[in-house]
């Protein structure tokens, strides 16, 4: 009995490594960064690294939230609305100083949580199709963003804009610390009952239900937490742009899902995770920089982004098939 067991362990390890989209996207990122560093002499400078983290952070946070929902086999389009809403709230409702900044954080997170809760009720309890119902909440929240601020404008408090885009102690970018915190929180969450249940529900909802998992509640919390992540994304975006734009979220809709796909989260649920999605977001933003530094016209950026998206999924699927093939 001993040999098969150790065999199984090796196989599961192989499967985890090869079928692991996070690892693949990390490799892609490293490759891109090498190209980037070889073309740009100052790629490793303090400013360049800080820029890299700052630019990737809003999309990474949005993708982190979106991947929670994708893990449950759902789609959450409300990301566009929530990012815009928290951006305009930051640009109009928040004053100067650390206290106000925290208040602003609380306000946008509450807004995101509320939208997420509505999504969760619609999808988990009323059992509407997730694409359709989050499409509706996305439109409603974009409308609310327009009500707060009807045209681009407003100013994000300097305190928020400066602190979040700065480097802590002059070395580590604050954005990197935020992303690290999210990763740590996720690694903890994944080990809770909810985290385990999240994967179970995504892999097979009926079986998870039969195993005693309260599937509705698990899905509900996934949407709630996703909403909070979108709000954080909007908060970070506000710090970066220092201004408000009710349409700020529009470009996030496609890019968030692109990041999730590149990050190896399976759209049929139950596989992948937050870290991969965040790396996927970082890859997308780095890709833009690399293409720019290679002198490719910005017109064609989209073509490369699309091709990378498809390739990432194909590579993940192939290695997964290879990994699971060894099981036979």
């Amino acid at each position: 009995m001993n040999a098969p067991v150790s065999n199984a362990v090796t196989r599961s390890l192989l499967r985890r490594l090869l079928g692991n989209g996070t690892l693949i996207v990390a490799f892609i990122y490293a490759l891109l960064f090498t190209i980037f560093a070889s073309r740009q002499s100052d790629a490793l400078s303090q400013t360049s690294i800080t820029d890299l983290f700052n630019n990737a952070a809003p999309l990474a946070l949005a993708a982190a939230g979106g991947s929670l929902v994708v893990l449950t086999r759902g789609f959450d389009l409300s990301v566009a609305g929530v990012v815009a809403l928290s951006n305009v709230l930051m640009a109009t409702q928040v004053g100067e100083g650390p206290q106000q900044a925290l208040l602003g954080l609380a306000v946008v997170c509450t807004a995101g949580l509320l939208v997420g809760a509505v999504n969760g009720i619609l999808v988990a309890y009323i059992r509407l199709q997730s694409i359709a119902s989050t499409l509706a909440t996305m439109i409603v929240t974009s409308g609310l963003a327009l009500l707060v601020l009807d045209a681009p404008g407003g100013t994000v408090p300097d305190f928020v804009a400066d602190t979040l885009t700065d480097s802590a102690a002059g070395i580590v970018p604050v954005a990197a610390l935020i992303l690290l915190a999210v990763v740590l929180i996720w690694l903890l969450l994944r080990r809770t009952d909810w985290g385990v249940a999240l994967y179970a529900v995504g892999a097979d909802e009926t079986a998870a239900g039969l195993a005693g998992i309260r599937t509705r509640r698990v899905k509900f919390f996934a949407y709630c937490l996703a909403g909070v992540f979108y709000a954080l994304s909007g908060y970070m975006l506000s710090a970066l742009t220092a201004t408000g734009n009710p349409n700020a979220g529009n470009s996030y809709l496609l890019l968030t899902f692109a990041a999730i796909a590149i990050g190896g989260t399976s759209f049929s649920g139950g596989r992948g995770g937050v870290v991969g999605a965040m790396l996927g977001a970082a890859t997308l933003t780095l890709l833009q920089k690399v293409l720019f530094s290679a002198g490719v016209s910005s017109f064609y950026t989209g073509i490369f982004q699309g091709v990378v998206m498809i390739l990432a999924v194909l590579v993940a699927a192939t290695s997964d098939r290879f990994a699971s093939g060894r099981r036979a």
Partner: protein, 347 residues
């Protein structure tokens, strides 16, 4: 997402929930147009009805392909870009010339069908999830359009295409006849041909359809190609309507095309729904946005109301309701038992 309830029994008994849904949507649209008389005296008449029908023609055309794709359990997110490239190509290469129109339009439809076909190849043979494949294709096509045009599409308006919108027969703009023809042809293809009926089998259970000997892969591939062509056609129509093409002309139609199909009663899990329902959904949503935009309120409120209407439609137009309504007029049939396997296995 719960598996769709089994309505096959009801369909056999005469009136399926799909038909009820479509009837309800057309009824609501008519009611809304009549009710809008109270908003403005110029409303609720034939002029406004014509305007709404003309505006909804784009979504009606796009929804044909989108509905077929969703019917087989897929999704087409490349529609916005394909519409745009359809319009831009017509603007650039056909322009005002009537002879160019004759060979140009079929060629452009072929190009857009090929783009859709690439989606199909990715989804069917490379097994890329539809959501990702079509999303990526949309980004790629948009980039290509940007590159082809260098950022600004240039060309000439086509008098022949514009005539579809300006010329009328019996006080009805030509494009409305065209839309009617598409609706009828689409419904005939869906319900009256083997191709259409096989798509229901593919959407309900691809594995079973494959075992039953259906060319599941080719059928799925074809739905994506058709979706590309119908998005291209909608782009050509939009170009005719606007007399020009922009790089963002299709963007406003991506989500409405899905909303119309879903509000029209097609399950996003595949296997059930009718094109005529999607047409009803397109009309209802277009009517709503037209009426709302005439209310003279802030854009924010209009957007909020539009979103709430979609939500309301989703909440109200649910399968259970039609099952119940169907049971009132048809012989009751047992629903799927809890122990039975779900209709659609994991892809």
């Amino acid at each position: 997402m719960s598996p769709p309830a089994d309505t096959r029994g009801l369909r056999r008994a005469g009136l399926g929930s799909d038909v009820w849904n479509a009837i309800a949507l057309f009824g609501l649209t008519a009611l809304l147009i009549i009710a809008s008389r109270w908003i403005s005296s110029g409303f609720g008449g034939w002029e406004q009805t014509k305007a709404i029908l003309v505006l909804s023609s784009f979504v009606v055309v796009v929804a044909f392909g989108q509905q077929l794709v969703i019917l087989t359990g897929g999704l087409d997110l490349s529609i916005a870009s394909v519409m745009t490239i359809g319009g831009v190509l017509t603007f650039n290469f056909v322009g005002a010339s009537p002879t160019a129109l004759i060979w140009g339009v079929p060629l452009i439809l072929l190009v857009t069908a090929a783009i859709g076909g690439l989606n199909g190849i990715g989804v069917v043979w490379l097994r890329v999830p539809p959501f990702i494949m079509t999303l990526a294709m949309g980004i790629i096509v948009y980039g290509a359009t940007l590159g082809i045009t260098g950022g600004t599409p240039r060309g000439q308006a086509s008098p022949a295409l514009s005539a579809l919108f300006t010329a009328s027969v019996l006080d009805v703009p030509l494009v409305i006849y065209f839309m009617l023809a598409i609706t009828i042809c689409g419904s005939v293809v869906q319900l009256g041909t083997g191709f259409g009926r096989r798509l229901y089998a593919v959407g309900t259970n691809p594995a079973a359809a494959y075992i039953a000997g259906l060319p599941v892969r080719w059928l799925t591939f074809l739905t994506y190609a058709i979706s590309g062509a119908s998005a291209g056609l909608a782009g050509i129509l939009m170009f005719g309507y606007a007399g020009g093409a922009t790089l963002t002309m299709g963007q406003a139609y991506q989500l409405p095309s899905i909303a119309a199909v879903v509000v029209g009663g097609t399950s996003i899990l595949g296997g059930s729904g009718l094109y005529i329902g999607a047409v009803g959904g397109a009309l209802l949503l277009t009517t709503f946005s037209t009426v709302i935009s005439s209310l003279g309120i802030a854009e924010g409120w209009r957007t909020v109301i539009y979103g709430l209407v979609i939500l309301l439609a989703l909440l109200v137009l649910r399968e259970e309701l039609y099952l119940w309504a169907g049971q009132l007029v048809a012989r009751p049939v047992p629903l799927r038992q809890p122990g039975e396997p779900a209709a659609k296995p994991d892809a």
